[in-house]
Amino acid sequence: MRFLLNTGRTIKQGSFVERKNNPSYQVAAATILMNPVDMLEIMVEEGNHVRVKSDTGEVVLQVSPDNGLTRGRVFVSLGPYANHIVSPETHGTGMPDFKVTPVSIEPTDDPVLTVSSLMERCGGLPYED
């Protein structure tokens, strides 16, 4: 099913911004908010995992309901997970399209990756202290 992805700051993501290896940061950044009716439609429940795909890439996220969202729209707080699906195209402005990315969403049993393994996929080396 096709959705329009919005990203933005949230207080949870902000709270853990200095502790990005912390599991709570992962929860804050890897949660996708959906309208509950949309959740029914794609048959997922709170806490289930979904695979979110855009023209740019894909990432596995955990679902949470949000009544404030119009159907067809989803929200992920800004961070490395959202950035796996947002295009680097800036339209000559320097600013990527963080607010409107068309995505498809399907349920999955795959795990949500940790921040460090997400970066490992980008060519990095996880640092754990």
């Binding site: 902000g14 404030g68 729209r73």
Partner: protein, 428 residues
């Protein structure tokens, strides 16, 4: 020891009324702070020593080694990028710009993925703004457009707008009308007197429609504009026009949406149009603590607020070309110095991949997403906790942050000055 009037170093509000209790080199309590402030002061979790990636493992290295290797990498580069700067104070940012000019580097700050489009818009049409105290003391109408202060600037409403009494607004909550415009319902929209829900990407058209209505040309406005009814558009225009002092705040909901800088330009031109009828001001909700300071410092040294390219010796500026996301996406840069920010978390994946591909050095107190992409990381003191210097609030008011205790980390300025000295020596 309790320290009063401490300046928070999280967001652009720069609340300066915190009371922080310190025990040795540890913060034990914070009063007056929001959730974000509390986490910032209490949840402080540092990288202990400089680290370097060697193949598939990390090794600890000394500061001298780390700084020397950083200098060598930057000197060797044909197109180095110096990115970040918003989480540090002005004195360090200033050395950053001088480092960029001597290296022939591109220097950019986090406005590039925040209010960069606002700057582009201001460069087209200017910026009728004010300090936050003007709003606090006078405003009877406050508009938040594409901004969610409850989450991103938790004390904005209680210190400056909705809940804050001022000289001419003795009972602010009753006397002020709050209009929220967003594509989704948020905690902020829930407390608005008027919530205008706009289709994603529809802000530009809605702003144009409001301008036409304020100009008295509302007859051409159709029944609905991007999800907003004609009636609501007229009502909102009317509330704004009849304000005695209107304050328009906008967030990244507007800067990141399609149209980018043109959305902001339209909002500014709406403010100008309203200024012909009453007093109206507009202000960006700057996010990352001292990001506005980085704009100020870059500007007085180079002439440009961000995305400055010194490759040719002179300062060249062209966001879309000299901005970090574009440079990384095009795989242009061959080395990157990241200071006081986290592009690994906040840039699209393609950019993260390029950061991993080239030698990336990070100067930052914490292990963050970029750490995993870096070649070297140098931990430093945290501005506003164990380092002090100048920061600029979102409205341009400069405040000196306090150092709460003397820790064991060098601050950004110390590390950058050493780096600069080596580079200057090498460049002659």
């Amino acid at each position: 020891m309790k320290i009063e009037d401490v300046v928070c170093s999280f967001c652009g509000c720069l609340c300066d009324d915190l009371v922080v209790e310190v025990d040795g080199t540890r913060v034990v309590s914070v009063e007056n702070g929001c959730t974000l402030a509390n986490e910032k002061f209490l949840g402080d979790h540092r990288l202990k020593t400089p680290i370097r990636r060697s193949g598939n493992s990390w090794t600890k290295i000394s500061y001298e080694e780390a700084i020397a290797e950083t200098a060598a990498i930057l000197l060797d580069a044909d197109r180095p990028l110096l990115y970040g700067w918003s989480g540090t104070f002005g004195e360090a940012q200033s050395i950053g710009v001088h480092l960029a000019e001597i290296l022939g580097a591109v220097i950019d700050n986090t406005s590039t993925v925040c209010h960069g489009p606002s700057i582009l818009a201001i460069q087209e049409v200017g910026h009728p703004g004010c300090t936050l105290g003007q709003v606090k003391n006078r405003a009877d109408v406050v508009v938040y457009w594409g901004a969610n202060p409850v989450d991103a600037h938790p004390r904005h409403m209680s210190r400056y707008t909705t809940y804050c009494d001022g000289f001419f607004r003795k009972d602010a909550f009753k006397e002020r009308k709050v209009i929220v415009v967003d594509v989704r319902e948020t905690e902020s929209s829930n407390i608005a007197d008027e919530f205008m829900k706009v289709n994603p990407g529809g802000d530009y058209a809605v702003l144009s429609a409001l301008r036409a209505i304020v100009r008295g040309k509302g007859d051409i406005i159709p029944a609905r504009v991007e999800g907003v009814s004609r009636e609501q558009l007229f009502r909102v225009a009317d509330i704004c026009k009849s304000a005695k002092f209107g304050a328009f705040f906008f967030g990244v909901g507007l800067t990141m949406a399609p149209g980018k800088n043109k959305n902001i330009r339209n909002a500014i031109e709406l403010t100008e149009e309203l200024s012909r009828h009453t007093k109206f001001t507009i202000s960006p909700m700057r996010g990352h603590w001292n990001v506005y300071g980085s704009n100020e410092v870059f500007t007085w040294i180079s002439g440009y607020p961000y995305a400055v390219d010194f490759a040719r010796g002179i300062a060249f500026y062209n966001p879309g070309e000299t901005t970090s996301v574009d440079i990384l996406k095009r795989e242009e840069c061959d080395a990157c110095l990241v200071v006081a920010s986290d592009p690994g978390a906040h840039f699209p994946k393609a950019c993260a991949e390029h950061l991993a591909r080239i030698p990336t050095i990070q100067i930052d107190p914490h292990v963050n997403v970029t750490t995993h992409l870096a070649h070297i990381q140098i931990p430093v003191a945290v501005a506003g906790i164990d380092a002090e210097g100048t920061a600029y609030r979102m409205d341009g008011v400069p405040i000196r942050t306090r150092k709460l205790f003397q820790g064991s980390y060098p601050d950004d300025l110390v590390v950058l000055e050493k780096l600069y000295a080596i580079v200057k020596e090498a460049k002659g």
